[in-house]
């Protein structure tokens, strides 16, 4: 029981990070029908930006309270990562809009390779350790054999994710910007007939996806205390899996999918063997898609003519 509780906490933490990344995949797919394979690397770049910010704070200001350091990292990472993703969309995807469907996909793979190599060359191929932050734990259940604990950083990850998702949900469902995004997702041509600047709306979508990925990047760095140029791949693929599992194009689906993938991975590692945790996650995806091809919360295309 104690083990189960502990793994539940760990799984939700990891799932939150996946969920934040998955939203970027699902939103971009929803609006332009393209899988942005570079999104995982955008996430990795944000983790590096956070690390550099952290080191800069240390070098320039000296020691600051951890909370302030994390807030600063979040702000800097969100701004710079958004800028990155905005530029990527401008340079690599927008010129290909209206071209054949595979073109932006191939371009995205190119951007992905570019980003991970760029970071490898400029930052070096080795893992970068980051000093631990918020490592204190609260012991929830004490037992002679196994203590169930939640660390401050896990609490922070869950709280920040919950706040962000709530804010994001409000933005998409209730504001006129969100409405314009949903309109572009459902019928781009009609949206432009109503005076919506579709290109601008797509850019904003990329920026929003990047901002969430940036938060995930900061969380990931704080959680694991290490970043590497290859970190874009694995979490990226997992988050993409989460988006597909939840039903690509669906925002709640991305969050549910992220949590599920996180939980499956953690529980599998705890109870079975850690070597097969990815197999477990991807198998669940395959099985789900066999019975629910549109994913857990995806909507089947029903249209009235």
């Amino acid at each position: 029981m104690e083990v189960f509780l502990q793994q539940l906490i760990n799984g939700i933490t990891l799932g939150s990070i996946y969920g934040l990344i998955a939203i970027g995949y699902t939103m971009v797919f929803g609006i332009i029908g393209m899988v942005n394979f570079a999104h995982g690397d955008v996430f990795m770049v944000s983790a590096f930006i956070a690390m550099i910010t952290f080191l800069l704070i240390g070098a320039l200001v000296g020691s600051v309270p951890v909370v302030i350091a994390i807030v600063l990292m979040l702000v800097v990472a969100m701004v710079l990562t958004s800028l990155w993703n905005w530029t990527i969309e401008r340079v690599a995807y927008r010129p290909l809009r209206g071209s054949f469907r595979l073109a932006p996909l191939i371009s995205a793979i190119g951007v992905s390779i570019f980003l991970s190599n760029f970071v490898q060359v400029t930052q070096g191929p080795r893992n970068k350790p980051v000093p631990g932050m918020l490592n204190d734990v609260i012991i929830l259940v004490e037992s002679p054999t196994y203590n169930v604990a939640i660390s401050y950083k896990q609490i922070m990850i869950m709280v920040v994710t919950a706040i962000l998702l709530a804010a994001f949900w409000y933005l998409v469902q209730k504001t006129s910007l969100g409405r314009a995004q949903r309109a572009c997702e459902q019928d781009r041509k009609m949206a432009s007939l109503l005076g919506i600047d579709v290109d601008r709306t797509i850019s904003i979508t990329f920026v929003m996806g990047a901002a969430l990925a940036a938060v995930a990047g900061v969380m990931y760095m704080v959680y694991y205390g290490v970043v590497s140029f290859s970190d874009g791949f694995n979490p990226g693929v997992k988050a993409f899996t989460a988006a597909v599992l939840g039903g690509i194009g669906s925002l709640p689906g991305a969050v549910v999918g992220g949590l599920l993938i996180g939980l499956i991975e953690v529980f599998w590692s705890a109870y079975f063997t850690i070597d097969y945790k990815d197999v477990a996650a991807f198998s669940i995806l395959a099985i789900t898609l066999i019975f629910m091809p549109q994913g857990l919360l995806g909507k089947p295309e029903v249209e009235k003519v």
């Binding site: 309109a183 459902q186 109503l194 005076g195 029903v302």
Partner: protein
């Protein structure tokens, strides 16, 4: 004579290498209902979309309120107070009726939202009953009402309607055509109506044009066209079988 509200001159539109509009001239004056009739595939809807720059006219000029809009991006044309209820209605299926209407009002930054809502609900009371329902679950007639209402939410000076009667029951068609006539009489709204239902359209319109294979072949007042034997043979009696 004053300058027309919308004037189309020598417009040619292509889909790839295939020419769809072979040099169209057409005018809509302020306060007028103008209809364009023609068979399937004549290029009527293409002309509607060409006015909005999507697809763009490869040759020719489209002037609206004195400014050339033929090179303007689609969303900026929409901001010039031209609204369209397009072919196939294009309701946002996963948005509520209210949200669809809000999309129409986005251009004015929702400045007269309540007033405009009241206006379209007076016109189509059915929409008020459906206000929280998703667009995709509405009946065809309701979707058509919503498409027109959404267009009206932007307070257009010129309303483009692409086949509002398509696939609708006669009573609903009458309701929609009555609404168009009302809007034109009471508010002086200019309407450019594309129709296959030539009889109703020509009766409603002040002037009409006939399009065949991307060319305007006839034009005149609605009454004149209704009486022309060629029009009767091709679009009226022919359609009664």
């Amino acid at each position: 004579m004053t300058e027309p509200l919308l004037s189309i001159r020598g417009v040619k539109t292509y889909y790839g290498k295939i020419i769809a509009l072979k040099g169209v001239d057409l005018d809509v004056n302020e306060g007028e209902i103008v209809t364009l009739i023609g068979a399937n595939g004549a290029g009527k809807s293409t002309l509607m979309m060409t006015i909005f720059g999507s697809p763009r006219a490869r040759e020719g000029k489209i002037v609206y309120q004195g400014s050339d809009i033929s090179r303007m991006p689609t969303h900026e044309i929409a901001r010039m107070r031209i609204a369209q209820s397009p072919e196939g209605r294009r309701i946002f299926p996963r948005m509520s009726v209210m949200e669809n209407l809000q999309m129409g009002a986005a251009i004015n930054d929702f400045a007269h939202m309540d007033e405009d809502l009241k206006r379209v609900f007076d016109l189509f009371p059915r929409l008020k009953e459906r206000i929280n329902q998703r667009g995709g679950t509405l009946s065809g007639g309701e979707q058509q009402m919503l498409a027109i209402a959404r267009a009206l939410m932007s307070r257009p000076k010129l309303l483009l309607l692409d086949e509002p009667s398509l696939g609708l029951a006669p009573l609903v068609v009458k309701l929609i055509f009555d609404a168009i006539r009302d809007l034109n009489r009471t508010e002086g709204l200019s309407v450019f109506l594309v129709e296959q239902n030539a009889f109703h359209a020509l009766k409603l319109a002040h002037r009409g044009y006939v399009m065949v294979n991307g060319v305007i072949t006839m034009s005149g007042s609605g009454k004149e066209l209704l009486e022309r034997p060629e029009v009767r043979a091709a679009y009226l009696e022919g359609g009664r079988h």
